[in-house]
């Protein structure tokens, strides 16, 4: 905890939050398959964010386990496919964490642009 009673900033946790938020955000409009999430994150960020080495799956499965997204199986042309949809809890989480990320980024920018100034 810092002086303001906030939890210390956890870089590793922040990176994980970003990954999770990208996935949740990709599912905001409609349910998608894993590959669609990966492609949409890449396209929506104009190639800035890309999933590599299958890191998408641990994130998807963890979010599913935590009830943020719901995975369901269906069959298409003899193949089984899994589609993920955002749950109410996931939507709430996305909204809350987005505000937190925004706050962190704005604090960071303030430090980077005006070093030495105390935060307002």
């Amino acid at each position: 905890m810092n002086d303001d009673g906030e939890k210390d900033f956890d870089v590793q946790g922040f990176a994980r939050d970003i990954h999770e938020l990208l996935v949740l955000s990709a599912l905001r409009e409609q349910a998608k398959h894993g590959y669609q999430i990966a492609l949409d994150v890449e396209n929506d960020s104009n190639g800035l964010f890309r999933f590599r080495h299958g890191t998408l799956y641990p994130i998807l499965h963890r979010l599913e386990e935590e009830g943020m997204i719901r995975g369901s199986w269906s069959r298409e042309g003899g193949r089984r496919k899994k589609v993920y949809a955002l749950t109410t809890a996931g939507r709430r989480h996305l909204s809350g964490r987005t505000s937190r990320v925004q706050e962190i980024v704005s604090r960071l920018m303030r430090i980077l642009r005006h070093p030495g100034e105390a935060p307002a």
């Binding site: 990954h19 590959y35 964010f49 080495h53 003899g78 899994k82």
Partner: protein
């Protein structure tokens, strides 16, 4: 007809399968999801105008889990019992398992004997009934142990030995019951041959005693057979799904121009599958296409990497 490059995915899927120490159904679910995503990712890139080989490599680079992703999946999907055993410690769990098995055997024996005692059928039982009850207790313990390994401990490998033992013990119980009734009848015939006046006493007693023997042995054998049938059916369904995903003996992955799985070409695919688990120790595959040229791309890798100041 599937494109030729699907075989590259097959090699990767096999790598992933080998690297996951998870129960078969969970492995199959992960493989199915990965298989579908890899193919659709590749197809979408091809539709967008990317050459097939490059699309294939991009799909593998994006979605094929490397060692760390596999470890995370392994940890995340580990059965509840495995997590518990890791927390408690291997030795204590093994002792608890053995104790539970002994208790289960005794419980089955009691369950078998209780109705017989209540019906007063154990006062002068056929000697074969005791063998049937003993074998039945062993069968019950084997079923409990097999079910425990399959559905609680979720051993990654199917318990072929356990299922064979269930079938063999069921057959033994049935054979003991039927054979015992015949031997008892043969003995009764011998006695009645010498002293026919005892027929009114001995025949009803034989009927009651051996009816109990036959009924108990058939019930136990039926329960064992049912347990064997359910377990083998379940294993067959899961193994079938496993084979289907990995392309063994399935026409879906076959291509008329290439040899079947297990060929030298497979080995080549396996050795060159970018992003595959076995290639995870090598440098990550970088196809170097036009879309890779983004100057400020943040490839989403493992959260741990971020602590080193790079999101890759």
């Amino acid at each position: 007809m599937r494109p030729r490059v699907a075989r590259g995915f097959l090699a990767t899927l096999r790598d992933v399968e080998r690297s996951l120490a998870l129960p078969l159904p969970r492995r199959v679910r992960i493989l199915r999801e990965l298989e579908f995503d890899l193919e659709e990712f590749r197809n979408r890139l091809v539709a967008d105008g990317l050459p097939l080989e490059e699309a294939n490599a991009r799909a593998l680079e994006a979605l094929a889990p490397d060692r760390r992703a596999l470890q995370e999946l392994d940890r995340m999907h580990a059965p509840m019992y495995t997590r518990f055993a890791r927390r408690v410690g291997g030795h204590r769990v093994r002792v608890a398992e053995r104790t539970a098995l002994v208790l289960a055997t005794l419980a089955v024996l009691l369950l078998e004997a209780a109705p017989l005692v209540r019906a007063d059928l154990l006062r002068a039982p056929s000697p074969f009934l005791l063998v049937v009850l003993g074998s039945g207790a062993l069968l019950g313990a084997t079923i409990v142990a097999t079910a425990f390994r399959m559905w609680i401990k979720w051993n990654p490998e199917p318990p072929a030995g356990g299922l064979a033992a269930v079938l063999a013990l069921s057959a033994l119980v049935l054979a003991t019951g039927l054979g015992g009734a015949l031997v008892d009848l043969y003995r009764l015939a011998g006695v009645l041959e010498r002293a026919p006046e005892l027929a009114s006493t001995l025949v009803p007693r034989w009927l009651v005693r051996d009816s109990a023997l036959l009924a108990v042995s058939m019930l136990i054998a039926l329960a064992g057979g049912l347990a064997w049938f359910v377990s083998t059916r379940w294993l067959a369904v899961v193994s079938g799904a496993h084979r289907e995903v990995l392309g063994f003996d399935r026409a879906r992955n076959a291509h008329p121009d290439v040899p079947g799985p297990g060929s030298a070409e497979d080995a080549h695919d396996e050795a060159h599958a970018p992003g595959s688990a076995t290639s995870a120790h090598r440098e990550p595959y970088a196809p170097g296409g036009a879309t890779n040229a983004h100057p400020a791309r943040a490839a989403i890798g493992h959260p741990l990497d971020a602590t080193r100041g790079e999101i890759t």
